[in-house]
Structure formats: structure tokens, C-alpha cells
Symmetry: C2
Subunit: 138 residues, 2 copies
DNA sequence: GCCAGAGTACTCGGATAATCCATGTCCGAGTGCGTACGG
DNA sequence: CCGTACGCACTCGGACATGGATTATCCGAGTACTCTGGC
């Protein structure tokens, strides 16, 4: 759970798309607002495109645009798009099955982890991209 | 928020300490149960020690032991110890202040992020290290 | 004036280098126990 | 027999390599607009 800023940058990008209106904007322009490299934006948007949140178009006048109404895109959707389904990672190596704790810890943690993730996502669902874009406009 | 297993390994280690009784156990032994390198355990336990959850002792018969009653250590405490206070990371570089979105996005996200983190931690508080150790024992 | 064609500028997408972070290895510092020696 | 001092084994802690992943740079592929030439 080493905090990377992928989630934040994804929200930033989607808010920028919602803020800019229907015309597509380029990854270079987005990178200018986020203050990073365009390729980072492209890779991030590629996962958002896989989640059917945005589309891309090459050529002059091309760029990226929203596929869904920003009022119907919640932070929960964004998190799932950029982080995958399982939020808490289990051990990277298999614990020692000869140890009573190592043998059972993963199954013991499954419940609390799932519950915590659900609580997190339900809270994130309260905020939409449209709400963020609206506040940035005002 | 690239999922690392620090949180899981920390829980595993504390559960092992609670399970093993009052005598200190070594980082090498813990590493055997987690199936990783002892130095990884030491670095992780160093942050748990900073949170006053465990203590370390060198020399023969030394090792690590709990400083608090495991019934009073919740997963919330563990998360705060290993991940720091802020769970969601903001941008690693400063967004462009000339952009309306870039200028405001961080302050706009502060509220939802804090709320989501609070929801997450309240759920994690329901599970204690003692409960996990008890289940591993049975 | 209008249409067709080539040319050009722009954007994404993938391949390849460079950088950064996490992990692993090694050696030193400190501690406690055991042992041996002297009283 | 008892106390003290030395030595040794054990454990943590920090410094230095190593591997993988993330990030940055470069070049190619595709598209839409524009300009030019001909009718």
C-alpha cells in the first residue's frame, strides 16, 4: 500500500476533462496541468479507457474525452479503474505453512480486508467527478 | 497506492508475537514464518517500535516483544504505524497553479480523502491482534 | 470557382534507455551468558 | 566455595550491492486539415 499518486492524478485528469467541456484535450496539455510527463498520463488514461471511462483519438484535434456523464463517475469508479479490485495486498511470498500463524493468517485477514475495502469504497462513492469540476469552476 | 504487503506483514508479525507469549522472539524466527528476509522484518518492526507497539532487545535471548496488550491493538493502529498518517498520497509534483483545476484540486480532494480514510480506519478498528491470535490458536 | 490529390502537422502508441525504490547481503556495535582464574 | 574478569555467541542496526519497477526519451503509425494544381 505504498502510496503512489496514481489515484490522485487520475482524479485530477478526469476533473480536467469534465471541466474543459466536450472537446478532446491532449495528454500533453493534461501533463502540463498535472506537471508530469505526457507518457505517464497516457499510461494512466489507458487503464481508465479499459474501464470505459474515457476514449482516445489520434491526429490533429484528437486527444482524450469522457465517455460517461461526470455526474455518474464516482471516486469509487476511479479507484477500481486504477488500482484493480483488491485493495489490500496479501503476502508477496507464501507464509510458512508449518507455523500456526503463517498457515492461517491469510484466510483470517480476508474478512477484515474485504470489509474495510467495502467501507472505503462506499465513502468514496459519495464524491463525483462532476462535483469536483463544479467546485474548480466556481 | 500501489499495493505493497507491508500492512499484511505487520499484522502477521504482531499476531505472531501475541501468539508466542511474553518471551521475545527474533527477527530471524519471524522471517521464517513470513517467509522473507530478516532485515525486512527489522525495518518494518522499527516503524512499529516508533509507534510504541513493540520493543527490541539485542544480545542472546533478545528479540522483539509487544509493548501493549494485544486486545488493545487494532488494525487501525497497525495501519497508522506502517503507513503514516495520510493514507492517500497527493501529487508527487506540484500541479500547475495557472490551471483552474491544478490550482484547486489538492484542496478539493482533502475533504473526501480524509473522510474515506476515516471510514476505512473505523472499520479496521473492529479487528484486534488478540482476536487474530486467538483464532490462529484454535 | 470547385474538386482532387499530395503534403504536412499533430496525436497517440510502443520500444528502448535512465532513474528510483525496495529488497537482499555484509559487517560492525552492543548485550548477556558461560567459563576460567584468582582469592 | 565465591567473586570477578575475560571471551564468545547472539541479536539488532546501519552501510553497501542488486533487482525490479516506474519514469523519461525517442521514433513510428495513423488521422485530419491545408495547400496547390488542374478543370
Amino acid at each position: 500500500m505504498n502510496n503512489s499518486s496514481r489515484f490522485t492524478v487520475a482524479i485530477h485528469t478526469l476533473t480536467l476533462l469534465a471541466h474543459s467541456g466536450p472537446d478532446p484535450i491532449t495528454s500533453e496539455y493534461i501533463a502540463g496541468s498535472v506537471n508530469t510527463n505526457p507518457v505517464v498520463i497516457r499510461r494512466l488514461l489507458a487503464s481508465l479507457r479499459a474501464a470505459k471511462l474515457v476514449s482516445s483519438q489520434g491526429g490533429p484535434g484528437g486527444g482524450w474525452q469522457l465517455l460517461k456523464d461526470p455526474r455518474r463517475i464516482s471516486l469509487r469508479d476511479v479507484l477500481n479503474a486504477v488500482e484493480g479490485s483488491s485493495f489490500f495486498a496479501l503476502h508477496s511470498t507464501v507464509p510458512n505453512p508449518l507455523c500456526p500463524v503463517g498457515r492461517t493468517i491469510q484466510s483470517l485477514l480476508a474478512g477484515p480486508f474485504k470489509s474495510a475495502q467495502e467501507a472505503l469504497e462506499q465513502d468514496l462513492e459519495r464524491t463525483t467527478i462532476a462535483a469536483l469540476a463544479e467546485r474548480a469552476k466556481g
